[in-house]
């Protein structure tokens, strides 16, 4: 199958076009060796043939300034790369065409068959921009077509043009490579020697190899040193020559555009008038915080209904199964293990979907990049980058996609700090834990007759997370050294109505990634936990059961009460009980007993497992109903002293622990992938763990 690359600048509307061309038949993966997202999908050409369309990350040129741009270079500079395309569909924003063609001329010089898709034809028409496609095509020596990823205009024609573009490739014809860019004497001499030394045929590929040899992953060490010595011998000054090349290329196509595109004079557009408010010195931060407030309110308010239905559904299913199936180990595994685990995953889908819906919406309409601009200076004080705002806000949903979004930060130190502190932002997985525990600390009173006290406490926990994130970022800024220049240069897209197709696509992608990725871990953890709580050294289990039964007989307990007592004794004797007791001495100063110890261990699979664990330990069965768990925890007493286990101090200490601790295997796995080793995830785990332990200890000591 032939591979077609979709390339273009950021903000060229590539993703909309990609969605139009592939529909729902797309796959999200990573480019090999890096975490830059690679979207690919099959597309059917008019003749019925399938081709693979790969959506390349947005890039301005083959002289990369970010991870995203580096991927484009790495693939296009290496014809052996599995993603190396047979042809390129280059997407350019017609309303800003003169800024969008640099990369196209570079790709063309690599000898790849190209097609220029002039996107946003609808907006261009409204702005009175007209283009002479034929003239442009003959000047650029490639097919040119106006399209719109938003409205679907000319999509069928685009597919036909791709088929036409591929025909000579499939027939084995070499693309007649006329070089647009004529290298200067130093470049020409250097590239000729690189061509000979490495056996590269295409002159521009040889020139790129001279510029980037040090960081191109497909080169062998001896090739790298060969190129380095050529460059030194020829006095090849990479940066100077890059600038000259860029100037030269602009000089080639700017007259072409003046001949082929007619533009109206710049006027005060709607975007400008909106920006007068949204980037206003005083209004902008107020609008940002108001927006975030609405977002989080919406996540809680809207999600609570579907969450209740899901909980009821799973509760009902478990009860029904218990009635139908014979009582025994298998039924218990099904209902208390598998079904409880599944419920624990599905119940988060509404919150995650709604949060991603709102964040995607803010990105789609163009607001997020304004927030980046507004907060860049503030973020710099903490060693972060304006772009970190996007990660920190997304961290409110889930740290995993948030950490993945940091790849647009060019400076390694700022990116690393963003990755390290993002998990301190309270993610949606902490919500159920907070919900269960907050009732122990704060009564459901009204404050000033207006605000719900528990709601305020909730907000306080979120604020604590934000303060902790910024504080530790500041500390890392002082500790870490970096020589990388820090910068922010970013295009602001015009405000526009969201393309709903893109919004749904993102929600679908992120939600299914959660269910399939994190969900698997949670499910396995639930079953393992069920096993740990159900089995133990058989002698001890039998003894526990006998002891509980005799106590129940002495006290003349009812049947259900004695069953609960047996269950409680059995879990203490189980493997889970042993594990919990093993760590009890360490967590005792924080006010935690061995039952909480079990929950802390299992929370490591995913924080929300805490609730499921508590449900199992207190033999509530397969429920995720926070009210039930809350009332059961409130009754829990220390069997020796008879004192309540969940005092205000213990609950507060536990809350603090959950705000700070990095109890999420999936986050650690992503951080390892993003930072390329175990060093940073370990550092992150330790510093967050230390903060959690000390924070909890202080709170518990003060309150008890």
């Amino acid at each position: 199958m032939n591979t077609i690359a979709l390339a273009g600048n950021p903000n060229s509307g590539k993703s909309s076009l990609f969605n139009q061309l592939t529909g729902l038949r797309q796959k999200v993966a990573n480019f090999p060796g890096v975490t830059v997202e690679k979207k690919s999908g099959k597309m059917q050409l008019p003749a019925g043939e399938d081709v693979m369309l790969v959506d390349f990350p947005g890039a301005y040129s083959l002289y990369p300034n970010s991870e995203d741009e580096r991927v484009v270079l790495n693939v296009l500079a290496n014809p052996q790369d599995p993603d190396f395309p047979d042809a390129v569909v280059y997407v350019a924003d017609l309303t800003n065409l003169e800024k969008h063609l640099l990369l196209l001329t570079q790709i063309k010089d690599l000898g790849l068959p190209c097609l220029l898709a002039l996107n946003m034809a609808d907006t261009a028409q409204q702005q009175g921009i007209s283009v002479d496609e034929k003239r442009l095509a003959s000047l650029l020596q490639m097919p040119v077509l106006t399209v719109s990823g938003r409205t679907g205009y000319h999509i069928a024609e685009l597919k036909q043009a791709i088929a036409d573009l591929l025909r000579p490739v499939q027939a084995g014809h070499e693309n007649a490579a006329t070089q647009l860019y004529q290298p200067g004497p130093t470049e020409a001499a250097t590239l000729r020697r690189v061509q000979q030394a490495l056996g590269i045929e295409n002159p521009y590929r040889a020139l790129l190899t001279a510029h980037h040899a040090e960081r191109l992953p497909h080169l062998a060490a001896d090739e790298r040193s060969a190129v380095a010595s050529i460059c030194e011998a020829e006095n090849f000054q990479s940066l100077r020559l890059q600038i000259a090349e860029t100037m030269h290329r602009f000089a080639i196509f700017t007259p072409v555009l003046q001949a082929g595109v007619t533009k109206k004079a710049e006027e005060n557009s709607l975007s400008d008038r909106l920006d007068a408010v949204f980037t206003h010195r005083i209004f902008a931060p107020l609008i940002f915080f108001a927006t975030m407030f609405v977002v989080f309110q919406a996540v809680f308010a809207w999600a609570s209904y579907p969450m209740d239905w899901i909980e009821m559904g799973f509760g009902w299913a478990a009860e029904s199964l218990k009635q139908v199936l014979p009582a025994g180990l298998l039924t218990s595994l099904l209902t208390d293990g598998l079904l409880a685990g599944l419920g624990g995953i599905v119940v988060f889908v509404p919150q995650i979907a709604i949060l991603f819906f709102l964040i995607t919406l803010l990105e789609e309409v163009g607001y997020m990049s304004r927030a980046v601009f507004i907060f860049d200076k503030l973020m710099q004080q903490f060693g972060l980058n304006g772009r970190s705002v996007v990660a920190l806000v997304s961290g409110g949903a889930c740290a995993i996609p948030a950490i993945m979004s940091t790849r647009t930060i060019g400076n390694w130190k700022e990116r690393l700090i963003t990755i390290l502190v993002t998990p301190l932002i309270s993610c949606s997985a902490r919500i159920p834990v907070y919900t269960v525990l907050i009732g122990f600390v704060v009564p459901p009173d009204r404050v000033l007759g207006l605000f719900n006290a528990q709601g305020l406490a909730f907000m306080g926990l979120y604020l604590l997370g934000i303060v902790a994130a910024l504080g530790s970022a500041w500390v890392f800024k002082k500790i870490l050294k970096s020589s990388d220049p820090s910068w922010l240069m970013m295009q602001l897209p015009p405000y526009r109505l969201p393309v709903w197709r893109n919004v749904w696509q993102t929600i679908w992608e992120k939600t299914s990634a959660f269910v399939l990725g994190a969900g698997k871990v949670i499910l396995v953890a639930s079953v393992v936990l069920w096993g740990l709580a159900s089995f133990g050294p058989s002698a001890k289990m039998e003894a526990a059961k006998a002891a509980a039964t005799s106590i129940a007989e002495q006290k003349n307990l009812t049947e259900s009460d004695s069953a609960d007592l047996v269950a409680a004794y059995k879990i203490e004797a189980s493997f889970a009980g042993h594990l919990g007791k093993f760590i009890e001495p360490v967590i005792r100063p924080l006010g935690f007993d061995w039952k909480i110890g079990i929950a802390l261990i299992t929370s490591f699979a995913a924080r929300e497992v805490f609730v499921a664990t508590m449900a199992t330990i207190y033999s509530i069965g397969s429920t995720d109903d926070e009210a039930t768990i809350h009332s059961r925890l409130a009754e829990a007493r220390n069997p020796q002293t008879g004192a309540k286990v969940y005092t205000t101090a213990t609950a507060a200490s536990l809350l603090i622990f959950y705000v700070f601790a990095l109890q999420c295997m999936s986050t650690l796995a992503v951080v390892k992938r993003e930072t390329g080793g175990w060093k940073w995830p370990i550092v992150q785990f330790l510093f967050m763990g230390l903060m959690a332990y000390l924070g909890s200890w202080v709170v518990y000591s003060l309150m008890s």
Binding site: D275, A284, K377, W487
Partner: protein, 77 residues
């Protein structure tokens, strides 16, 4: 006589004459910010942060230490 773009007030336009740093120039030029481009200061971020510029009709933001390297000739009033 050219001045840094940071000397232009919000709403004032000019033309870029040159850049005083090659690294900044290299990055800006790939985005199409070239000597000869028309530039207008739309807004300076709070806390004297970044600059929101219109360059030939395209909206871009840069930090102030980057903006310092963009030399412009202000339009005659």
């Amino acid at each position: 006589m050219s001045n840094s773009v940071t000397q232009l007030k919000e709403g004032i336009s000019g033309r870029i004459s040159h850049f005083t740093d090659d690294h900044v120039a290299g990055k800006l030029m790939t985005m199409g910010v070239m000597p000869g481009s028309r530039v207008r200061v739309v807004r300076v971020a709070p806390l004297n942060g970044g600059y929101y510029l219109k360059v030939d009709g395209m909206s871009i933001v840069v930090r102030s230490n980057e903006a310092h390297n963009i030399m412009t000739i202000q339009d005659k009033e």
